[in-house]
Amino acid sequence: MSEMLGTLVFYAVAFVILATALGVVTSKNLVHSALLMTACFIGVGVLFIWLSADFLGAMEFMLYSGGVAILVVMGVMLTKRQDGPPGNPFNHRKITALGLVILFVLVMSTVIVSTPVPSGSYVSADTVDALADMMLNKYILAFEIAATLLLAALVGAIILAKGDGEA
């Protein structure tokens, strides 16, 4: 009974993710695309929680959805110069797109096939401790370098946006 419910939840969430992802690509309106992308991210987050990776799920809600809010603001500000709905920039490079899609599928399937799947093993109930231990003990150097890089990018962005003299 509970297994059946679990499968049902999985397929419902997977359907939402695929449908919204398709909507992101096909929508003619940039803002609609960005908002559908949020729905897609929320679906992915629910999937993470369904797989008991609750920290990753919450992260997905927080960062990606918040990021999309910024994206929508950017989309509105950059595209709404004239009246009418902001358009999605479409073009006709179909062959290039097909080539890139085939390349992407090949790379992804190679990665998926070559990754060993730890099947049926123990899953920690508390993923936060393990993640914190990894980030702040084992990989502290990489973590700090990434943090410094992001800080530099942030300061750089502010200076670029404000221009000379003002900053």
Partner: protein, 345 residues
């Protein structure tokens, strides 16, 4: 094991259901539906009570009488208001983005209702006591930004769009210091679980150990829930009503239902995170203490709202980034040093 009236009532109900139905998962589903219904009722009632309370308190602070015609002492004013709102014409402006415009007030209610699942009302009385409770709660609260922006964009009105942009700027900007302020609590508790956070305050409340975080939380909570003096999103004197300028009747009421639900949420969160949750002297049950503290917090937030004038958007944003965020980071540092010293002593 857990004690307390609410927990034992739920257990008794579960046993009665178990003897009638027999299949555990169906009993689970029925219990969840019952709990969710109670939570939604609390949310809807709070909006009804708080609208009246807000007007009465506002009147008291401004030396007026406030609503006093409908019912004894104006008690039925919010009921009359609700009937009026349902009766109003549903105006759909031309040139809007129909789907986004319709969905915005509905979607706004979803996160507001969802976070009630993470509140510990009494010992063991919490719908979803997950490991990353506090973090998930903040993540879900941050979803309220997008419906505001959706409404602001879809209304195809300048005031709405400005309001939507302000929402993004102020809510995202103040979320950062809030998360860092709450980090101090998480460091002291050593867990993100809501029940563990309340449990850790059984002797000393976190308001004593984290006064700086408490101050930052009060400010950011007012911003996140769009309460005055930080309700720049809907600043009437500048941008009419922000994202809800083009909404009428019940659609407009949904925005206000969400706002009052959020007001109660920040009251509950202040109680849970800083004021010891359901802990209190034994002569009252846990949930009574919980509600007493929550209502005191809500009163406090309303008092602050009606006392201070509204800020200007640029001063407010620079206050968030240049003052609150450094204080929050210093608080994290101080907490870390404090824990280290406490451990070696």
């Amino acid at each position: 094991m857990h004690s307390g009236i609410l927990y034992s009532t739920a257990q008794a109900l579960r046993e009665i259901l178990m003897s009638f139905v027999g299949i555990p998962i169906i009993v689970d589903i029925i219990m969840t539906v019952i709990c969710a219904t109670i939570l939604l009722l609390i949310m809807a009632t709070s909006a009804l009570v708080f609208t009246l309370g807000e007007r009465k308190i506002c009147a008291f602070i401004q030396v007026r009488i406030g609503p006093n015609r409908v019912g004894p002492g104006g008690l039925l004013q919010s009921v009359a208001d609700m009937i009026k709102l349902m009766d109003k014409e549903d105006i759909v402006p031309r040139g809007i983005d129909k789907w986004l415009w319709v969905l915005s007030p509905i979607l706004l209610l979803v996160p507001s209702a969802l976070i009630y699942a993470f509140f510990p009302f009494d010992d063991g009385v919490i719908l979803a006591d997950v490991n990353v409770g506090l973090f998930l709660l903040i993540a879900i609260t941050s979803q309220t930004i997008l419906p505001f922006l959706m409404g602001g964009y879809a209304s195809n009105s300048k005031y709405s769009l400005i309001g939507g942009m302000r929402t993004v700027a102020q809510m995202l900007g103040y979320e950062v210091p809030m998360v860092f302020a709450l980090m101090g609590i998480v460091m002291l508790t050593g867990s993100l679980k809501m029940s563990a956070i309340v449990e850790a305050q059984s002797n000393v409340w976190f308001i004593v150990l984290q006064p700086l975080a408490f101050f930052i939380y009060i400010v950011t909570a007012l911003v996140e829930s769009n309460r005055p003096p930080f309700n720049l999103v809907e600043g009437e004197s500048e941008i009419i009503a922000g994202p809800f300028t083009e909404y009428t009747g019940m659609r407009w009421a949904l925005f206000f239902l969400a706002e009052f639900s959020n007001l109660m949420c920040i009251g509950i969160l202040t109680t849970t995170l800083f004021l010891g949750g359901w802990h209190g002297p034994d002569f009252l049950p846990g949930f009574a203490w919980f509600w007493i503290k929550t209502f005191i917090c809500v009163l406090f937030y309303q008092w602050v709202g009606w006392t201070f004038p509204r800020l200007r958007i640029d001063t407010m944003l620079s206050f968030g980034w240049k003052v609150l965020l450094p204080i929050a980071l210093v608080n994290v540092l101080l907490t870390g040093v404090g824990i280290y010293i406490y451990n070696i002593m």
